[in-house]
Amino acid sequence: MQNSRQNPLRTVDLAAMRDEAFQAAVASESGQLLASCYQCGNCTAGCAYTHDYDIPVHQVMRLVQLGHRERALSCRSIWLCATCQACTTRCPNNIDVARVMDVLRHMARRAGHAPEPTVKTFTDGFLASVARHGRVFEAGLAAVFAIKSGKPLQDAGLGPAMLSRGKLAFLPHEPEGQGKAEVAAIFERFYARKKQGGGE
């Protein structure tokens, strides 16, 4: 019996793999009844991003259901979900699948995973822009992203078309009143809270 622990067949030990704290955290942070998923696959069937996923969304749900924390949090799929809501809309069990994907991404961030670094760079850049200006400064964001992502020329070709059509503002369009300061304060409190929470 002791030998079975070495698991030469590489079967998945369901009991050993189950992280109950993880199951509970996903359930409470997403507010969804994960046990109600019966693996019909409708989320995957309608998901426009399945092509780029390493694990299709219904299997992500299955991993969460079984409590396989590591595989769920380290996958790329959760970073590539665009929250297009096809899965949530069509789930026959009323599960807000997109919100579960969101929650997994939050957890992955806290756990330090970033298998899609450009996605994280873009998101962080976007929010930094909002924190600084109160609104998104598109040109600034594009410039920062171009540098940080290591793809400086990807969108360079768009420049002329945008310039000639007056679509590229070189100065941020900031809110006229207290808005900028208030948004900055929201971010400050958010980062303070994160520190409190003792990010993993």
């Binding site: 109600s36 019966y38 693996q39 019909c40 696959g41 409708n42 989320c43 995957t44 069937a45 309608g46 998901c47 399945t50 092509h51 694990i55 299709p56 219904h58 299997q59 096809a86 069509r90 789930c91 026959p92 069990n93 009323n94």
Partner: protein, 663 residues
């Protein structure tokens, strides 16, 4: 008064979480209790014997049994005390199983609560009076609502058993869904060939009165003596003259009427006989489409009818039938596939329901048994079946399994290959439920012999797309076993739509005073032990009105219901329940509120000699619901066996203990 108490262990059901000896000991201290004991199974033969014995030995004049729900064994114990010479209403039951033992594990508090319930029962019993049932004559006739296969079977069984049967069917002909089917699983029998002879028997049986195009309008009365009003909608054709020759159908100029028998895949005439084997084979006019009615002139059918049967001035007829029992067999409706926008139902003509496909497969159907897709009449080479459309879907408020879609889908996939040998069928499924005799083998045949490709997953989207030979439908789904998205270019998509309770089931249930669930399915008396009874005496269920079920189950339940009716009506007289309302004449002020609130029409006002009004209860109609009693401003109406004094005694018994424990 001398009262005996027996506390039941119910094996471990009660004894595990209630100290039954302590409850019995406590009961010995209650007023008038001269004997109290516990017993392993009070309802068992020895248990009942010991109750009888104690009644005789201790000269008891009342018994309390603390055990299960009265719904379970009240009748059992009443019979026991009666055998020992007591009036059956000198018995009370305390439910310490469902109300105590099964809902909490706290032994101490359970024991306290059980003691409270026994104390209440004793106090109630101390206020009980012997009541005597009256007996009344019964009508040896039965009403069957719905003429599908269940109704047909029940009608034949009852009639063969010697009862007169009234069969009411909403449509023009009997046969229901089964008459629309091409073949039946798992034997691939011709559906209408099996059903047809039974339908003919119904039409010819001397004991069966058939009302088609009819609906039950009102039901009054009670078990043994129901009075049912049936509205017979006018067919505008005198059916005593009509011979079903069909001459009118040929000449009718209004030929573009959606043919509901063919699931609106094709058209029929405004005067119509729905299908060749129809019983009764009589023509009826659909006034919504008949030119005589819509335009005010035509009269063609009247001119061509050789029997002179057409009468545009005919009116609905209302008939009253007196029956002793009723069987509801109202069947099912199909889920509305247009609610599933992702499949394009209702938007794309080549996305059809399974029943429409069934009509297409049928030799008597709109395409004479040739599969042609609706958009261009082409023979499809790739047919995709999607299971669970409107079943097992909480987002559509249809969480239940529709029971037979897996099977008919396998059948239709097989028939597709039978009709078009070079075709390919795909089935998107979540689970295959094939739990009848020969069912699993049938599904395996579809997969192995007919190469039907089963894809485990749901479909997210169907949309039109240009194919090599003209327009096709792209079906995008998932194969969860592969873990990928899959797609198939299909020529025809068949939605295996689920089952819903028949529209109007709720209102019929209310007329019959039976319960129905959230989805409109009628509730059986007990899910295990009373599967064909309802909680209203004399009303029984058969077929899909109770839950989705396939043909053999419907037929079995229909025969069971018929058996129940035959046994009920084998008696010449039935006993009435004495637990009914009674008016104390000198208290009644004649305001008439009780008459207005009584849901059963069981109260009438009577003029006294001094001209004043007094309420009076019609004993055989009263169901003992007690609404009148709470409505009466001066408490002149009391419900026997549940009088104010009796209830108050229980409340006081409970509150007194509450006072003591809370201080």
């Amino acid at each position: 008064m001398r009262i005996g108490v027996m506390v039941c262990h119910c094996g471990n059901n009660i004894a595990a979480t209630v100290d039954v000896e302590a409850v019995a000991a406590a009961a010995r201290e209650f007023p008038d209790v001269v004997f109290a004991t516990d017993h392993m199974y009070a309802c068992s033969d020895p248990g009942q014997k010991s109750i009888e014995q104690v009644i005789t030995d201790m000269k008891l004049d009342g018994v309390v049994v603390a055990s299960c729900s009265p719904r379970m064994h009240e009748a059992t114990f009443r019979r026991a005390v009666e055998r020992a010479g007591l009036n059956r209403y000198m018995f009370e039951m305390a439910n310490i199983r469902e109300h105590v033992a099964w809902i909490s594990l706290d032994r101490r508090r359970n024991t306290e609560k059980a003691t409270d319930l026994v104390r209440m029962a004793v106090e109630k019993l101390r206020h009980n009076r012997p009541l005597t049932a009256k007996s009344f004559d019964v009508q040896k006739r039965v009403l069957i609502v719905g003429g599908g296969v269940a109704g047909v079977q029940a009608a034949l069984d009852c009639a063969d058993g010697g009862l007169d049967v009234v069969l009411v069917e909403r449509k023009q002909a009997i046969g229901g869904i089964m008459s629309k089917l091409d073949k039946t699983f798992p034997t691939i029998d011709c559906s209408v060939c099996v059903l047809g002879p039974k339908m003919v028997d119904v039409g010819q049986h001397p004991r069966i009165t058939l009302h088609t195009l009819s609906e039950v309008e009102e039901v009054s009365g009670y078990v043994g003596n129901f009075e049912v009003t049936v509205r017979k909608k006018t067919p505008y054709v005198d059916w005593t003259k009509c011979t079903g020759c069909g001459a009118c159908l040929e000449k009718c100029p209004s030929k573009k009427v959606p043919d509901s028998f063919n699931e609106n895949v094709s058209f029929c005439t405004a005067i119509n006989i729905p299908f060749p084997q129809a019983i009764p084979k009589r023509a009826a006019i659909d006034p919504a489409h008949c030119r005589q009615f819509t335009k005010g002139k035509c009269g063609v059918c009247q001119k061509v009818c050789p029997a002179d049967a057409i009468d545009y001035t005919m009116q609905d007829e209302v008939v009253t039938e007196k029956v002793g029992a009723i069987i509801a067999a109202t069947g099912l409706d199909l889920f509305d596939h247009t609610k599933c926008g992702e499949y394009g139902g209702g938007r794309y003509p080549d996305v059809i329901t399974s029943l429409a496909y069934e009509r297409m497969l049928s030799a008597s159907g709109p395409t004479a048994g040739h599969i042609k897709r609706p958009s261009d009449g082409k023979e499809p080479k790739t047919v995709v079946f999607i299971s669970c459309v409107g079943s097992r879907d909480r987002s559509l408020d249809r969480p239940y399994c529709s029971n037979f879609c897996c099977m008919y889908t396998a059948k239709q996939a097989i028939l597709t290959r039978d009709h078009i040998p070079d075709s390919k069928a795909y089935v998107f499924y979540m689970d295959i439920r094939a739990n009848g005799k020969g069912y699993e083998e049938f599904v395996r045949r579809a997969q192995e012999e007919y190469a039907v490709e089963y894809v485990r997953g749901r479909v997210a989207q169907v949309y039109p797309q240009a194919g090599p030979d003209g327009p096709q439908l792209l079906v995008r789904g998932a194969d969860t076993l592969l873990g990928t998205q899959v797609e198939i270019a299909a020529d025809l998509v068949v939605l295996a739509v689920g089952v819903e309770a028949s529209k109007g089931a709720g209102s019929l249930a209310e007329k019959l005073r039976i319960s129905y669930d959230h989805y409109g399915f009628f509730l059986e008396g007990h899910p295990k032990l009373k599967p064909v009874e309802t909680n209203t005496a004399g009303v029984y269920l058969a077929g899909c009105c109770q839950a989705p079920k396939d043909i053999p189950s419907s037929v079995a339940q229909a025969s069971a219901a018929a058996g129940k009716v035959l046994s009920l009506l084998s008696k010449d007289k039935l006993e009435s329940d004495p637990q009914i309302a009674m008016v104390t004449g000198n208290r009644c002020i004649g305001c008439g509120k009780c008459e207005r609130t009584c849901p059963f029409g069981a109260i009438r006002m009577r003029e006294m000699r001094d001209g004043s009004q007094r309420a009076e209860v019609v004993e055989t109609v009263c169901q003992g619901c007690g609404i009148c009693s709470v409505t009466c401003p001066v408490r002149a109406i009391q419900l026997q066996h549940f009088t104010d004094s009796q209830l108050l005694a229980e409340v006081n018994a409970l509150c007194r203990t509450w006072d003591e424990t809370s201080e």
